[in-house]
Amino acid sequence: MNQWKNFTKGFIRENAVFALFLGLCPTLGVTTSAINGLAMGLATTFVLVMSNLVVSLIKSLIPDKVRIPSFIVIIATFVTVVELVMKGYVPALFDALGLFIPLIVVNCLVLGRAEAFASKNSIWSSLVDGMGMGLGFTMALTVLGAVRELLGSGAFFGLKLISGDALLLFILPPGAFIALGYLIVLANMIKEKTA
């Protein structure tokens, strides 16, 4: 398998958010600022890479009928590790992401990759796949967060560009849907051009 293609597919062509529409709950929920999006994306990437690695490693040892519970236990373990480490070392970030960190467990992107990719492919391919999909997810969340932060509070990565209020709608939940919609249009345009 061409590993470069395997890696880059997560960015546009099979991007979790823009093309597969997986993991939309954290996507819409945490992206009130670019830094939140980035942190959430990186946390998910870590879980995705680790769970892909372990699932691929033990795929031949797991009987088919109990594979889903086994995968979920593996994923939940890594999510809890991320949660504890964040709480201890970056408490400010943990406060901002709050409830969404434990919810990585039920992010269908993570289980989806374990089930559809890691349980059928080699360790190396699974690792690259987890990395690509995770970083693609991170990119999507960061872009969406940056757009919402820019329009909603007139700032870029916490740096105030205009004083006072901006279009508050974009910080609120409806703004998440509107901004995501336009970003999907943009991603589709890029996809058509490169296809």
Partner: protein, 190 residues
Amino acid sequence: MAKKESTFVSMLATLFVVTLVAAGLLGSVYALTKEPIRLAELKKKNEAIQVVVPGFDNEPSTEVERLFMDGDSIFLYTARKGEEVLGTAVETFTNEGFSGEIKLMVGFDPQGAIIDIAVVSHAETPGLGDKMEKGKGDFSLQFMGKDPNTFNLAVKKDRGDVDAITASTITSRAYCDAVKRAHRAWNEVQ
């Protein structure tokens, strides 16, 4: 390698091993992060106390009283300088926030007037309700030096004395609710 067959024994053994390894891993990570988590939480608490009753030289987080009120606990920390009591920091809460619970630290001087208020944790809307935080808006400043016995802790819409945050009346009401609860707790221990 061929897939393992799904027999009762193999399924049982697999799940047992998977959960056992997971439990072992989690146990060790928990033990490793227990101390940093405790320190991080303590630091945050001390910083909040520092804001609302400045100038103490004892460890207020060790001089703590606990009260049960409205289904949750309220903590009162006594701040001293030498022998003199500077005031009490009350860690209070409300469940009336726009997005759930808000935790505040309210400092009272020995006469019962509010010294200052800091937000400990909240999930209010960025850009709207989060203006209750110091540094993001002027809302919290109006409480400084006010005695809740004479200053009606309710927004003007509810015939109180508090100027609500524009477009965040619910958050402002919740804030007042938490401060009121802090004052009640303070009264109770006097």
